[in-house]
């Protein structure tokens, strides 16, 4: 208990490194602000996302409607915040699906024998070459445009990199002495898996999960933009951008508002992912 800094857990160490980078802190703050805005904002809005005021159709930004209204007289700011909830939720849930599949697959491949491992990884190589957007589109079209299905479909195609990363990590860990010591001491497969492997693959998993979130949100927005994702009157950012693009010639604010929110969030997520990678990379020293 001499110097506090010598007894930091890896998590504390990583957090300290993250806070040292100004860009990461800014990204974290921006992201936190966006999430707060989307989660809490709608409670303070005097309008509902689908409330129409037919007197005020397609009004440019003003004091009552900060970001203007759409041609149906709905408050755009409220709709953007509600859309943000959906977009962020899809981002988190689809990433969770991808993490579960990817980590499971990677662990099994890494811990199995060489032959099973080679087969499983070759399958991943082959899957990498698949035109996934086409599958997501087909999945959504076939099983209906339900909310749950959208993130399952997206998550089901975004796990490949995660599987590769986890498997690589497991292969390295497997050879380390402490794992062999545990095995020699009689630890079973399950104990090695949960007690020794999982905590040590969490770092890379967090990094890739944080980099998966923006990709997933982009995919959801793409689907919604094409009319295959979230269905009106519900709105995600993709839906709002699509509506904005359709009427931008006359009502440019309808494009600019949602686009700015979406792009800023993606920016924050990407920068934070990069920052996390730097902070959690065991090779980088404090």
């Amino acid at each position: 208990m001499s110097a506090a800094s010598e007894h930091l857990t890896p998590t504390q160490l990583a957090w300290r490194r993250l806070c040292r980078s100004r860009v990461s802190v800014a990204a974290l703050l921006l992201l936190g602000f966006m999430m707060l805005l989307c989660v809490a904002g709608p409670w303070f809005s005097p309008y509902g996302p689908n409330d129409q005021d037919l007197e005020l159709r397609a009004v440019p930004p003003n004091a009552a409607h900060w970001l203007g209204t759409d041609p149906l007289g709905r408050d755009l700011a409220t709709r953007i915040l509600h859309g943000g909830r959906i977009s962020l939720l899809v981002g988190v849930m689809a990433t969770a699906v991808a993490v579960v599949i990817g980590v499971g697959y990677g662990l099994v491949a890494g811990l199995s024998g060489r032959r099973v491992d080679a087969l499983m990884m070759r399958a991943v190589d082959v899957l990498y070459a698949f035109p996934f957007i086409t599958f997501v589109i087909l999945l959504v079209v076939i099983f209906g445009r339900q909310f749950v299905l959208i993130f399952v479909a997206i998550g089901a195609v975004e796990w490949l990199t995660m599987a590769r990363v986890v498997r690589g990590q497991v292969l390295t860990l497997k050879k380390l002495e402490y794992v062999q010591a545990a095995r020699a001491a009689g630890a079973g497969f399950g104990r090695i898996l949960f007690r020794h492997m999982l905590p040590n693959v969490m770092g890379p998993v967090i990094i890739y999960a944080s980099l998966t979130v923006p990709g997933v949100m982009l995919l959801e927005a793409t689907l919604s933009f094409l009319g295959l994702g979230i269905q009106p009157p519900d709105a995600s950012w993709g839906v709002l951008i699509s509506e904005g693009a359709a009427s931008m010639a006359v009502y440019p604010w309808m494009l600019i508002g949602p686009s700015a929110f979406f792009t800023l969030t993606l920016l924050a997520l990407n920068l934070l992912g990069d920052g996390l990678r730097d902070a959690l990379d065991p090779k980088s020293v404090l």
């Binding site: 957007i133 086409t134 079209v141 295959l228 931008m248 686009s259 993606l266």
Partner: protein, 320 residues
């Protein structure tokens, strides 16, 4: 060392090519099977419309398109048809074959995609190289920030914004459609700028890493000019990450093309694919998906070959 590598490379090149082609065929057959199963699992058939059709007519229609046969046979016929480029007529489009539609849509998509790739390379490589040669300079910072912004800007935002500026305000180009000879410019710009950001990043990283290597120091020591060092010695190696990225980029350009074609209302493959998926046009959706897979596989193969030719250290290893 170099000689012995060349002597063995003819054989290993062949092995490498064969293994890659086999892998590609597996991918394409996989795509065909999965799309087929997905579409057959879907509720509703191609003849399910507003009106109920009498049983015997429906059966006749189905037998005309081979829909009444057992599923494995349908699947087999489907794969054989695709392999021999004999696309069956689609029940959703009497009188038009799937092959015709792909032949119509592909040139549009290919023109836009190729132009986008060239724009991405033409913008990304100089920007990345400039940043790498003067680390920490203003050029470096501007280029890095622009690249970060570019990576985070999705095509569904950039596309409408570019249309708004160049199509609607400045009126330099048509805002949408495929009428004039220069209608490829805005969609290609949309896709190309986004990919130039990735390429700039990769070029910067690759070039900086290469410039720190020993053989560069040797080249400098023997008195080669800075230009010669960069272009003759460093660039070949520095390009590898960029080249590596071109495989995924091809897939990304395809994804992006589905969005840009929708933004700019281009009659390309992406539009046909989305349309086919929505209308349950089995034949067209499957054929387009398989065609996409074919494109990606071919492109990846090309990239692998170029990469192996450029970098003697990689060689033609079977596992990649």
């Amino acid at each position: 060392m170099g000689r012995s590598h060349n002597a063995a490379s003819g054989f290993s090149m062949l092995r490498f090519l064969i293994s890659r082609v086999v892998q590609g065929v597996v991918v394409i057959v996989g795509v065909l099977c999965i799309t087929f199963l997905l579409l057959r699992m879907a509720p509703g058939g191609p003849f399910q419309g507003e009106r109920d059709v009498p049983e015997h007519i429906r059966r006749q229609q189905e037998s005309m398109y081979g829909l009444d046969r057992p599923l494995p046979i349908q699947l087999w016929n489907h794969i054989v048809n695709f392999a021999t480029f004999r696309f069956p007529p689609s029940p959703k489009m009497p009188g038009r074959s799937v092959g015709e539609i792909i032949a119509e849509g592909f040139p549009v998509s290919a023109q836009v995609g190729l132009a986008a790739l060239l724009i991405a390379l033409a913008v990304g490589i100089p920007a990345g190289a400039l940043a790498a040669l003067r680390p920490g300079s203003l050029e470096d910072r501007v280029s890095t920030v622009a690249a970060t912004l570019g990576i985070c800007t999705p095509s569904l935002v950039l596309g409408p914004v570019i249309t708004l500026v160049f199509g609607l305000k400045l009126r330099w180009f048509n805002a949408s459609g495929w009428y004039d000879a220069d209608d490829w410019v805005l969609p290609a710009l949309t896709l190309g700028l986004i990919y130039s950001a990735y390429i700039a990043r990769l070029t910067r990283g690759g070039l900086r890493e290469t410039l720190a290597l020993e053989f560069i120091r040797t080249a400098r020591a023997k008195g080669a000019s800075e230009m010669a060092v960069v272009f003759r010695h460093a660039f070949k190696l520095a390009c590898l990450p960029v080249l590596n990225f071109l495989g995924p980029a091809a897939a990304g350009l395809m994804t992006g093309s589905i969005v840009t074609e929708s933004v700019f209302q281009l009659p390309g493959l992406g539009q046909h694919f989305v349309g086919a998926a929505v209308n349950r046009n089995y034949e067209l959706a499957m054929a387009t998906a398989a065609f996409y897979a074919l494109l990606i596989v071919a492109f990846n193969l090309l990239v692998d070959i170029i990469q192996a030719l450029l970098n003697p250290r990689i060689g033609f290893k079977e596992d990649a």
